[in-house]
Amino acid sequence: MFANLPYLAVATLTVIGLSTVLLKRNLVKVTMGLNILTSAVNLLIIVLGYREGGIAPIYTLAPQTYMVLPTPQALCLTSIVIGVATTALLLSFTMVIYRKYGTVNVDEIRELRE
């Protein structure tokens, strides 16, 4: 069971993030849910690169040469940067909506109708 623990963590975080995005009524909480979902996917990418007994993939003062895979760590880094930009933009949108509509409740932001 312990070998699969990281994958269980990914699944738990995904369910938490997805349910937050779909069920919460506050825009700030929706943003937080998207952040949790991004963290879940980043964790999945890094965990897939793990090799039993390997160390961090840095050659400076390295005690051994058997390392975990470095490519997933580069992918995860790019994804974190995209996540930062996404969060910044969503929060800016939330601020402007709060200033114009007076509320951040998703049910009440319904100016655009059919």
Partner: protein
């Protein structure tokens, strides 16, 4: 005659030039406003020229492989890599070349239009920076042969589009539309990242050609297929994930809307690339083909029935964009459904795929033209509500002619390009299943009905007193619309030449997975 530099480096320059221009734009804009307009126009012209040159070379000489960061641009498998393509590789085959032609034409016309339509707004350096970034990301999305690079360009286009949609804050409504679009787009991006994790974890490769060679269709690959179809169909605006489209297309500035149509089609290109080239026959072609056909039929039907009662002219056109996306999904889905059956593929499968692809370029042209004319009307009149407009045909003659060309093209009337692609789709889909072709024809009739209503309520009727001061729109806007209208007419008058030169090579390239793999891995 053509510099050696272009022959070597054009695909990368087509992405690098708009990026560089986008980064310099704020610095130029701080000093002169006219300088910024000239700079943006120059950048758009250069990007379109590079994209058209890339497309021309690919159509005449075959697939172009460009490796980033190698010693020679064509060195996809370096000798010390053990037979694996290791760098980011741009692989431009005929289908990508067609999408680059679309981006070149529509991108240049839209920037020409936007120079005078958006010239009086504030905060313009951010606007043009995001605009050029959006163009760069669309060119990158259609040229790349690497899965993670596709994801990065996908996210760039989502961010740039969200910023552009929410640009005119307009008492918060445009920001609400931008927020809806952005949450949906980010969810799609996260699912795409799940797919990348699943495929990388199984096959240890990110290159699409390498993955196509190593693909065995395990249970995890089935999950990845479902997620990737969901993510890309959401960004393309297919039903049932279409609810961001009316708000986003209606509230963005009109030049941005015409470019968002091209961005949605780049996601549709991604969907076709992943199902045809990455998976090919390893998936159950009949089932996935029927899934795409059902998505297409629902999109067509829901799009056109929700468009009929609309009062807002751009919202109506956005629903029609959803319906036309359904035509493309129907055509290419039919081709996918008969992928395993060589006899049916030669009889009508290739024609269905060619019809779907032809519809992509036609839709970009006439839908872009329609959105630009709607923008021209809104620019002069100041409202988007059709019940308050009327009698504009007296003063805005050129706009009326362009709108009529666009409306007849979208309804599929003979001398315009919509008829050619719709006829190809009807013929091939009828041989597959007659009910689908009949639904497509009924939707086409309803499209014509809805546009007749729009034309009558905007342009016909007596001259209204509050619109006495309305004159024709300025020349750059007319020029931008004129380029698209001219191409709509030309593609309609010479469809056979267009199909032979542009569309059939693209359809063949989409069906030819072994050719795609051989270009990178060297004929193994």
């Amino acid at each position: 005659m053509i510099p050696q530099f272009l022959w070597d480096h054009a695909p990368a320059m087509a992405v690098a030039v708009p990026l560089l221009a986008a980064f310099v734009c704020p610095l130029v804009g701080k000093y002169t406003a006219t300088g910024r307009k000239a700079w943006v126009l120059l950048a758009a012209a250069a990007t379109s020229a590079l994209a058209l040159f890339t497309a021309w070379r690919v159509y005449t000489l075959g697939t172009w492989v460009y490796v980033f960061g190698a010693t020679v641009p064509a060195l996809s498998v370096p000798p010390d890599s053990g037979g694996i393509p290791i760098r980011i590789i741009f692989e431009v085959d005929a289908m990508s070349a067609l999408m680059q032609v679309i981006v070149a034409i529509v991108g240049f016309s839209v920037i020409l239009y936007s120079l005078s339509a958006d010239g009086k707004r504030s905060g313009l350096e951010a606007y043009y920076t995001l605009f050029l970034l959006l163009i760069a990301s669309i060119v990158g999305m259609v040229s790349t042969g690497d899965l993670f690079n596709f994801f990065v360009f996908f996210e760039i286009s989502g961010l740039a589009s969200a910023g552009l949609i929410a640009y005119r804050v307009e008492a918060g409504r445009a920001v609400e539309a931008g927020l809806k679009y952005f949450v949906v787009s980010t969810l799609g991006g996260i699912f795409m990242l799940f797919v990348i994790a699943i495929l990388y974890g199984q096959y240890n490769a990110l290159n699409i050609a390498m993955l196509a060679e190593r693909m065995q269709f395990t249970v995890l690959d089935k999950i990845a297929l479902v997620l990737i179809i969901g993510a890309l169909a959401t960004k393309a605006g297919a039903v049932p994930m279409h609810f961001w489209t009316p708000d986003a297309y209606a509230l963005a500035p009109s030049s941005v809307t015409a470019l968002l149509v091209v961005a949605s089609q780049a996601s549709l290109y991604g969907l076709f690339r992943f199902t045809f080239t990455l998976y090919h026959l390893s998936l159950n072609a009949a089932t996935v083909g029927w899934v795409l056909i059902l998505l297409g039929v629902f999109s067509m039907f829901v799009g056109v029935t929700m468009a009929i009662p609309q009062k807002d002219v751009k919202r109506l056109m956005a629903y029609h964009a959803i319906s036309q996306t359904g035509y493309m999904l129907l055509g290419v889905g039919t081709g996918l459904a008969v992928l395993g059956n060589q006899g049916m593929l030669d009889a009508f499968g290739r024609m269905a795929i060619a019809g779907g692809i032809f519809h992509i370029i036609n839709h970009a042209l006439y839908k872009g033209l329609l959105f630009l004319t709607a923008g021209a009307i809104i620019y002069r009149v100041g409202t988007r509500d059709m019940n308050r407009m009327g009698g504009l045909g007296h003063k805005m003659k050129w706009t009326m002619i362009f709108f009529m060309i666009g409306a007849l093209a979208i309804a599929g009337i003979p001398p315009f390009n919509g008829f050619a692609s719709k006829l190809m789709i009807y013929e091939s889909v009828y041989l597959f299943n007659p009910v689908l072709a009949i639904i497509a024809m009924v939707v086409s009739i309803l499209t014509l009905a809805s546009f007749v209503k729009v034309f009558h309520s905007i342009f016909m009727g007596p001259q209204l007193p509050e619109y006495e001061h309305v004159k024709e729109v300025p020349a750059p806007m007319l020029l931008g619309m004129g380029i698209l209208a001219l191409l709509v007419i030309l593609f309609g008058l010479f469809p056979q030449q267009v199909v032979d030169l542009l569309i059939t090579p693209a359809a063949n390239a989409l069906l030819d997975q072994s050719g795609y793999i051989a270009s990178i891995l060297g004929g193994a």
